[in-house]
């Protein structure tokens, strides 16, 4: 595995404001990297620097082994970029929009037509390919944007806020599409977002950027361990019947560290896997087990923690 994107002390300063501050970012080949941060954290600025659309103030960037500032054409040939709120020429059809981009990529005409039809089918817009883009909904435009990024057969794609302003169903469709592209075509994906719950399922690794600084970067479960400081067994327990005395029984189980009463049931922080003991305790009392669910930290929790610390 080699790094598709690598930055070293990447910095961008706009007059007084430090938009991106000494960023060290790595995106490995074949992974889905979530680039997370609140609005105005410097996500888009970083992406623009990765593509050579703006020049870094200092630091180094390498994308697919090329320097985007001096070899931007090489980078742009290999990397597809979908900006936030992508715009289209709305008085021509979806297909013609894609054909124009294909021509800009110097793809031969008949090959361009074939690829256009193929990517439109891939994103589920085959039936709408001859409609004007001005009739498209936001979700459709976003999918058209992804189709356009795919026309050039990139090795990596960078998506800026791909789910912004799209209804939950549409967002799920787009995320599934991204996941499929990564799995079936081995595409490296870097996507920026501030909506954590939406993207946490599809990201292998995330980096969290707050006020221009990358505060953490790593595998999802590594981040989870870091945030919970070793206590990685968390369960939500819900039982039916008279629960009198159950809490004391649970407390006496070896490995249960902390018990928290929730509206329906308990939240247990444990140092090891005690599911068997818990089920035993419940059945000994003659109660019905309604649910016993493992509660891993969500990205939301990780994100909020780091966001507040920064």
């Amino acid at each position: 595995m080699s790094a598709v994107v690598e930055t070293k002390n990447l910095t961008k300063r706009y007059r007084e404001k430090l938009a991106v501050n000494a960023l060290n970012l790595t995106v490995q080949e074949g992974e889905v990297f979530g680039f997370l941060g609140p609005n105005g954290a410097g996500k888009t600025t970083t992406i623009l620097m990765l593509l050579g659309l703006t020049e870094p103030t200092s630091g180094q960037v390498s994308v697919c082994g090329f320097n985007p500032t001096h070899q931007s054409l090489e980078v742009k040939r290999r990397v597809g970029y979908l900006p936030e709120n992508p715009g289209f020429y709305d008085d021509i059809s979806a297909r013609e929009n894609l054909l124009y981009m294909a021509r800009l990529n110097r793809i031969p005409e008949d090959e361009a037509r074939r690829r256009t039809a193929q990517v439109l089918d891939q994103v589920g817009l085959a039936d709408d390919s001859r409609r004007w883009v001005k009739e498209f909904s936001r979700g459709m435009k976003q999918r058209l944007g992804i189709a356009e990024v795919l026309v050039k057969k990139p090795t990596a794609i960078i998506l800026d806020e791909p789910t912004l302003g799209i209804d939950p169903d549409g967002a799920i469709r787009i995320l599934e599409l991204i996941k499929n592209l990564n799995r079936e075509h081995g595409l490296t994906v870097m996507l920026s977002s501030h909506q954590l719950q939406q993207v946490q399922d599809i990201c292998n690794r995330v980096g969290i950027i707050v006020r221009g600084k990358l505060i953490v970067q790593g595998q999802m479960d590594e981040l989870g361990k870091a945030i919970l400081k070793g206590r990685e067994w968390n369960f939500l327990l819900e039982v039916g019947g008279d629960t009198n005395g159950l809490e004391r029984d649970l407390q006496s189980i070896h490995g249960v560290d902390e018990i928290e009463k929730r509206t329906s049931g308990w939240f247990l922080r444990c140092t090891q896997d005690v599911r068997r003991e818990i089920v035993d305790a419940v059945t000994r009392k003659g109660l019905q087990l309604l649910q016993l669910r493992s509660e891993d930290p969500t990205l939301e929790e990780i994100y909020l923690k780091y966001f507040r610390e920064a």
């Binding site: 623009l48 054409l73 970029y81 900006p83 709305d90």
Partner: protein
């Protein structure tokens, strides 16, 4: 670059804006040629002038404008119409960053856009010229001679670059302001200033420098000063060069003292003599186009593309 060029050209030709311009230009061309042509036809007492076809362009006939004056006035509007949303429109649609994240050099976008605009202007101007020649042959019954053709061709070339200046200016504004409406208004403001108000300023300034214009020398001096100031405006440059180019008898700009005019034979100038007179004008128009486009080019190459 050719991809951008053909796309922009197709956009221009299929736009309603272009249709409206084409209709205005064709109607005015038809009308001017017809009026002047009829006047020449009905005047059967004298032999038609040696340069009847140039007269079709320059004679105002019964109307207020001659066709050449009309084009000098209307040309800037064509340039502005084609250019004011070239970059700002891309910003507004949010297509600029998508296009520029494709593997193309950044300058090919702005070059392609400018050349497509210029090509559109060339088509408009060329079509009106063909219209004049075609209608002229029908009305007058004889074809234009070689010299007339050459003069018309040079007139067209100068005209294309004159409109090209306004196109470049509108593109510059559309790049600077990034808002379509602001760019259009700024271009129109500059156009109004350069085509209408410059003459007001020039006469005011010359009046200050030469307050007492009673002698012919003082009058000539005042006219000279006015001319110099007027030539800030490309409209003046264009109308002066057209005046010389389409009127082979003309040999001075503005006033000439009687002593200077003495001994001049009332014969038409040869083409190269006429050209000699207006070379400075033509080169200035070319230079203005180059400067305007050059500034846009530099700004565009350094701009950060966020939209």
């Amino acid at each position: 670059m050719s991809v951008v060029f053909w796309k922009e050209l197709a956009d221009h030709f299929s736009s309603r804006r272009f249709m409206i311009l084409l209709i205005i230009i064709i109607l005015s061309g038809l009308w001017a040629t017809y009026a002047t042509g009829q006047a020449i036809r009905q005047n059967t007492d004298t032999v038609p002038s040696q340069f009847a076809f140039l007269l079709l362009l320059t004679s105002s006939g019964d109307s207020i404008f001659s066709l050449a004056t009309f084009l000098g006035f209307f040309g800037p509007l064509v340039g502005i119409t084609l250019g004011f949303d070239s970059i700002s429109g891309e910003y507004a649609r949010g297509t600029l960053s998508r296009v520029l994240s494709q593997p193309i050099y950044r300058d090919s976008l702005i070059n392609g856009k400018f050349l497509a605009g210029l090509a559109t202007v060339a088509v408009l101007w060329g079509s009106i010229l063909l219209l004049v020649i075609g209608l002229g042959i029908t009305l007058l019954g004889f074809p234009p001679n070689t010299e007339e053709l050459w003069r018309m061709l040079i007139f067209t070339t100068v005209g294309i670059f004159y409109v090209g200046f306004w196109l470049a200016l509108a593109m510059l504004f559309s790049l600077l302001f990034q808002k379509t409406v602001t760019a259009a208004l700024a271009s129109i403001a500059v156009w109004l200033f350069l085509s209408l108000f410059v003459s007001v300023f020039s006469s005011a300034i010359s009046g200050v420098i030469v307050p007492d214009a009673t002698t012919p020398e003082a009058l000539a001096r005042r006219a000279d000063i006015e001319n110099v100031i007027d030539r800030i405006s490309p409209s003046t440059l264009f109308s002066e060069s057209v005046g010389i180019l389409l009127n082979p008898a003309a040999r001075v700009f503005g006033l000439a003292l009687q002593s200077q005019a003495e001994g001049i034979l009332p014969t038409p100038l040869a083409l190269d003599q006429s050209l000699d007179l207006i070379w400075p004008h033509i080169t200035t128009i070319f230079a203005l186009v180059a400067v305007c486009f050059g500034i846009s080019y530099i700004i565009f190459m350094r701009a950060e593309i966020r939209a």
